[in-house]
């Protein structure tokens, strides 16, 4: 048991009661690439007690530039398995449900059912709409992040909110994929946005702080622009 002292450095910022609440919490991280690899590690280190980690993909060499879970020796291996191994190595006291599966309209609901929060780390816009439909059905909030190049965005969507329609327009008119197919993605931007997602997730779980509900935080690391925009 290595929990003695594990959260000592949390406890000036997060109370004992809040830390205990996190230990009882369950977060589903959907997508374990540039965003999800960072999000799941930060949630595990902060002390979220149960993590469902979902990705059907395997690593290839193009992931090495930014995806924390990818290593030279696990190219060709499952992202979900790598996430489980990494999170267990970091915090063996938490419950990990790793699912190697691509999410679609038939299985999203089952994947997220029982969680308290869903973190959207997906990489296509149309799949994000599908996730929102399932999260609304399950009554769960979504913490969403998206990146392109060195720019990114974060928002929080509660079940009764319009959510992605406010950002991408009507589902049928939404571009998928977005401009990241032209820009690629850079590691420090992925982890910057992942950090903001982890922060929003903890705030939603603790019902504390200002949450980006109906707001979109936009970051451009070339110009050091960090703006919170009102979507309504």
């Amino acid at each position: 048991m290595v929990n003695q002292g594990r959260y000592d450095r949390n406890l000036s910022t997060i109370s004992h009661e809040e830390q205990a609440l996190l230990a009882r919490s369950h977060v589903a991280v959907i997508g374990l690439g540039g965003l999800g690899g960072g999000v799941c590690e930060m949630l595990a280190r902060t002390g979220v007690g149960t993590l469902t980690l979902v990705d059907g993909d395997i690593f290839d060499t193009t992931n090495l530039n930014r995806q924390l879970l990818s290593r030279e020796e696990n190219i060709g291996g499952s992202k979900a398995r790598a996430a489980k191994e990494r999170i267990f190595a970091v915090n063996s006291t938490i419950q990990i449900n790793a699912l190697q599966a691509y999410a679609d309209e038939t299985n999203f609901y089952g994947m997220i059912q029982g969680a308290d929060v869903v973190v959207d780390c997906l990489d296509t816009i149309d799949t994000r709409f599908l996730l929102q439909e399932s999260a609304q059905r399950a009554g769960l909030p979504i913490v969403s992040g998206a990146i392109a190049g060195v720019c990114g965005q974060v928002t929080v969507i509660f079940p009764q909110d319009s959510g992605y329609e406010l950002i991408y327009g009507k589902k049928k008119q939404a571009h998928s994929p977005g401009v990241e197919t032209q820009t690629g993605n850079i590691s420090y931007c992925a982890l910057f946005i992942a950090s903001l997602q982890a922060s929003e997730c903890i705030k939603v779980l603790l019902k504390r702080g200002d949450i980006l509900r109906n707001k979109l935080l936009i970051a451009d690391l070339w110009s050091n622009s960090f703006e919170v925009m009102d979507l309504l």
Binding site: G34, L122, A148, I167, E180, T183, L216, E227
Partner: protein, 76 residues
Amino acid sequence: MIQIDLKLFVTLAKYLPAGGQAHEIKEETSVNDLIKDLGIPPDIVKLIFINGKKKDGNYCIQHKDRVGMFPPVGGG
């Protein structure tokens, strides 16, 4: 003429005029007019923000407005 603060994000940044963010436009210019004047293909502008609030392309830009445009971003 009126002055605006123009921010174009991600792939839209290449359409920023030579003068940079401080940009002069004619009065009574809508965001749709501005998109056309800058030569931006309209279908790649997904979000328009004026002074930190989401607006549509019909908004008539005012002096000293902060105008931001964002393309669809979906990477993970």
